[in-house]
């Protein structure tokens, strides 16, 4: 329990640090007034416009010191209020945007991680079972190719081959479609994220499996006549999963980053495309909200990974 509290305390510190840095960075870099008022923000010679500028500053607390604004924002944020978008066409609550977009990105990432896991484990088992044989060498080349290939290039290739040439998958995502249609539409983007991740997982798992397969307990199992496949899956796999799980957790952050591009390529209106647009428009509340969601997700996944370590090996808890 003490271990869990330590991890949670570290997570809270991390979230505070990220939020402070992001809040400071966003507020120092741009002028949000322009997004709230449009051209009026630059019309400082006109008394009517100046009145609007002053009113907007007061309304959005832009006339207050940065630390005060940060504390206000933080206080609202922990109660689930992310504020309103900086927009000249209204003040839609950021939570509306998050409610709409977060499930799409999470579906995409969960599907991608599921696919990456489903691909990498059998792939690593096969490669480890045939270590230094042609199958393993082909596997190595393939995994390096997938790791080296940027995901935007992979996305375009997959889209062309599986979407345009073979017509197996839709080229675009439509939010109004039924759930299973949308799931079908997410397969190509998820595969684009999953394949490089699967290659990384496979490389690590294969290496650990090869090492584990040289352990005495494996030799013992083999000498008892346990079939090779059973030895791999039942005896070697579990103790070889440490690196896999570590990278699985750490990679969550990379996948969230990768989804920015993939969502754009496949026209999935999720958090990735929202944050890109928000950065361009200097819509700080949206940027901050998405950064916090991404960071929180990353932290939670890694806490879960840490907890999983202790399940796999109770010595970690000490």
């Amino acid at each position: 329990m003490n271990y869990l509290f330590q991890r949670l305390a570290m997570a809270v510190m991390l979230l505070l640090a990220v939020s402070a840095l992001t809040f400071g960075g966003m507020n120092l870099l741009g002028d949000p007034l322009f997004n709230i008022l449009g051209p009026v923000a630059a019309d400082t010679s006109n008394p009517t416009s100046v009145a609007k500028i002053d009113a907007a500053k007061e309304k959005y607390y832009l006339d207050r010191p940065l630390p005060e604004r940060y504390v206000r924002w933080l206080g609202d944020m922990v109660t689930g209020d992310f504020g309103v978008q900086f927009s000249s066409t209204g003040e839609p609550p950021v939570t509306n945007l998050l409610k709409e977009r977060t499930p799409r990105t999470f579906q995409l990432l969960v599907l991608a991680q599921f696919m990456a896991t489903a691909i990498s484990i059998p792939w690593a088992l096969i490669a480890a079972a045939r270590v230094r044989r042609p199958t393993d060498r082909i596997s190595t080349v393939t995994s390096f190719l997938l790791i080296a290939l940027p995901n935007f290039a992979l996305g375009i290739i997959l889209k062309y081959l599986l979407g345009i040439k073979l017509g197996w998958f839709p080229l675009t995502y439509t939010a109004s479609d039924p759930f299973f249609s949308r799931l079908h539409q997410l397969i190509l983007p998820a595969l684009t994220i999953a394949l490089p991740a699967a290659a990384v997982y496979q490389r690590l798992l294969r290496t650990d499996l090869v090492t584990t397969l040289q352990e005495d307990f494996i030799l013992m199992a083999r000498s008892k006549g346990v079939p090779r496949r059973r030895v791999l899956v039942r005896h070697a796999l579990r103790p070889s999963l440490f690196s896999f799980i570590t990278v699985f957790g750490i990679n969550t952050g990379a996948l969230i980053g990768g989804s920015l591009i993939v969502e754009t390529i496949f026209r999935v209106p999720g958090l990735g495309s929202a944050i890109v647009e928000a950065i361009l428009r200097e819509d700080f509340p949206v940027v901050l909200a998405i950064v916090m969601i991404a960071t929180t997700t990353f932290v939670l996944v890694n806490i879960a990974v840490d907890l999983l370590y202790s399940v796999l090996d109770p010595r970690v808890r000490r």
Binding site: F34, N35, L37, G38, P39, V40, A41, A42, D43, S45, N46, S49, S87, S88, T89, G90, E91, P92, P93, N96, E100, G163, I164, G167, P170, L171, T172, Y173, T174, A175, S176, R267, P269, S273, A274, E277, L280, R281
Partner: protein, 592 residues
Amino acid sequence: MTPRRGGGRARGLIALMAVAGLTLSACGGGDAADEPADEPATQDTTADTEAPAEEPVTEETLVEETIAPEEDLDPVFGGTLRYAIEADVDGLNPTRNSISAPGYVILNAVFDNLFVYDENDVAVPFLAESGTPSDDFKDWTVKLREGVTFHDGTPLNADALLVNFSSLRSSALPALAINPFFPPLNADGTDPGIEKVDDLTVIYHLLDPQAYFPAYLTGQLGMVGSPTWLEAALVDPTLNQSPVGTGPFVFSGRSEDSVTTVVRNEDWWYGDVYLDAVEFMPVTDADLRVELMLNAEIDALHTTHFPSIDTLEAEGFKQVIDETGEESFGMINMAVPPFDDIRAREALALAAPIEQYQLLINEGLGTRANGRFVPSSPNHNADVVQVGDDIAAAQPLVAEYCAERGDETNPLLATTTCTDGKINMELQWAGPSVVQSRIADILEAAWSEAGFNVTRQEIPQDDHIAQVAVGAYNVVTWRQFGAPEPAVDNVWLLCRTIGAISLNWPRNCDEARDEVLLAAAASTDPAERASLYQEAEQMIADAYTYIFFNHTRWSNAFADNVYGICDRMLPDGAHARCYSGGAGDLSTVWMQ
């Protein structure tokens, strides 16, 4: 503008006499680009067109339909049309949001206009029953049809028009295009621009004689929203995303950047609507729109991308092509040095690589523009030819300018106007955009050779337009004009639209030109109007504030199973104008 019904797979090619427009959208960006045309469009336009300098075009090349035969086919109810538009829009409230071509595609489904263009580009009553001018054309009495209700059950009446007008007048950007033509609000807050006569009648009071005022009512000013909804939207601006009109389709749902859905209005006052629903999907990439069409994932699209139009034609899709809308051009801010000096502007125009633009950007497919009107337009001035491709003629002008005014300050760049005998300038465009960057490359190469130090500035489209609106630019690439009724385009040209925030973007105030333009707007004599517009064209060319590249070619393309395109008949029995720019009417469309 009825699609021809011919035989087999052959595509009919119909020359259309009518050229009218719909949306006036000023837009940062060249037309050949696959750019989201998101911007402050604030009115409707009419279409006039322009042609290549050497090779006059016929109207066949300007507006055409490639619609497959539909004989012996009766419309059927049902189906969901998926329509890929080039960009999403900020909001769907015609009285609050700036509406560009993709916005009009959506709003035309939800709203009816007081007036619409017929196939001869005459604005005729639609939601209005009549429009009657005073003798001096400064007052227009508009009477509404009786018994029409909005989708939320609110009745259409004069009070509804008053609420619409008030909401528009108090908006941030759309008002900029409306207010210059109406008297300012009274001190007590009442609006002298509109007067209620009875429950179904209002009078619009204009500042100037406007013989073609109904043309204004074919656009944003004439789209009528439910007053109940508009008043609620003033309190809760998020409602700007959920429009309520009287149109053939009822707004159903919207997921920004993904899909906006409208469903059939079972009780549309004007008749049957065939489609169950229409899904408008913003797809900013022109190539992807075509791929989606080829993959049958969508049923319709619009595009200004020349190669896409070519592909769609090669694949045999039905297309309505319209070149009568906006023009693409370079635009110069003459309010500040160095381009407050006509020598600098003329040098820039002379050095503009017009031929290269046609070849490299438009792939030889575009129609070159010399001004706002096509040769077939009576308003076209054949004597006006866009200069360009003459670097040798530009260089002495640059040298002369720098010798005389090279020590002044370019406030935008905070440098002297000249360095080492070259004029310092900024070229700004909306991005990120591959095509716009290519355009910048071509322009920069030619202008550098002529003696300009070009500082490149690519910024998001919203910022780009706002910068232009407040005059924080030297030179930009732009897309604009093309109103079917040229008087509607006066908003871009009159002195009165210059201010801290201008719609006369180049800030070129020419009182003599204003007189000519306003006289043309007041005239009902076609010969006199033509003469006046020709005179204005010469004045525009003489100022060197625009460097015209080409006419935007819009294609509205449809899958084989889509029928009833451009079939709307108007109350007076005439055909409605088909597609104009990127938008048209979907009330008659059906699918098999």
